[in-house]
Symmetry: C2
Subunit: 152 residues, 2 copies
DNA sequence: CGCGATTTAATCGCGCACGATTTAACTACG
DNA sequence: CGTAGTTAAATCGTGCGCGATTAAATCGCG
């Protein structure tokens, strides 16, 4: 009987969920690149901006919780965003261990313009709203199960 | 109360399909790491091995078509696999532009042992076969639509 | 044949990811 | 208080991804 799961016995990477996610991630990255070029943003940088547009003034830790990244990844990204003039980074006077990340005027300014970007994604994918949400929910479940098993 | 925007996908990263894929990809990467450590393989290296187990002796181009990668990414990965003793790389005498990648005895030898790895994934995810296939198919459709739009 | 166009890998530079470690600031507890 | 333990960011090294470029082999067309 043919295996159709994540098992390589029967087949190729094409049948594996991990590869479906892996290759879809690269496709997103490449799809976003030309759209974000005019802002000088990379895809991970864009995700940070989205997180800040939703809730400004978060600490590195809080951003990391939202993006599932840690300071070893975030700090260099945030420094580049700071160098681009989109955010500021300053130690919280209340707790000097923490660094608060805040949007600059320029960072807030591109929000409107950048709203065309996700619209372009939905247009390209042509998925219904319910189908999209379902896919997001299923992927979040996969992610959380994997993450739970990795730690616990 | 959580802020949302009018833009589709524009609330927070948690609602965005691109982020669901992005974070699931990282979760897979971290889930695989301890499982692959004993083979000395990274996750991308493992995907190359899976592709070769399915069809040995492919060219870099053919491997790239399967994995959606190009030589700029594959060549260093293949060199590391070669250094580990899992594959050989040699120019095709029929067409010296091409490099054929072949499993060594050691490369074939770990196939059986490594078959426990995807089993561990299915056990952890607890998804039915049909549900898994459906998810893979949907993600492949997303990937192909994005890739088609990026090129075309 | 000859020579420009095409194809295939490889190379280079940059920006993530991330395990491991370090530094600094805060907390808890005797 | 003081100090051991904890927490938050930053630092470092390695390995991808990938756009851009280069080098070499092959193809195509006169």
């Amino acid at each position: 009987m043919k295996q159709t799961t994540d098992a390589p016995q029967g087949g190729d990477v094409a049948e594996m969920l991990c590869f479906a996610i892996y290759s879809a991630q690269h496709a997103f990255n490449q799809f976003y690149r030309p759209l974000l070029d005019r802002f000088g943003l990379t895809y991970p940088q864009y995700l940070v901006m989205v997180a800040l547009w939703a809730s400004d003034g978060r600490t590195v830790k809080q951003l990391g919780a939202a993006l599932r990244l840690e300071s070893n990844t975030l700090t260099p990204v945030l420094k580049r965003l700071e160098a681009q003039g989109y955010v500021t980074r300053q130690r919280d006077p209340e707790d000097e261990r923490q660094v608060r990340v805040r949007l600059t005027e320029a960072g807030r300014a591109i929000r409107e313009e950048a709203s065309a970007v996700p619209q372009c994604v939905t247009d390209t994918l042509g998925l219904g709203d319910a189908e999209m949400r379902d896919l997001v929910q299923k992927l979040a479940a996969v992610r959380d199960r994997l993450a739970g098993a990795t730690r616990g």
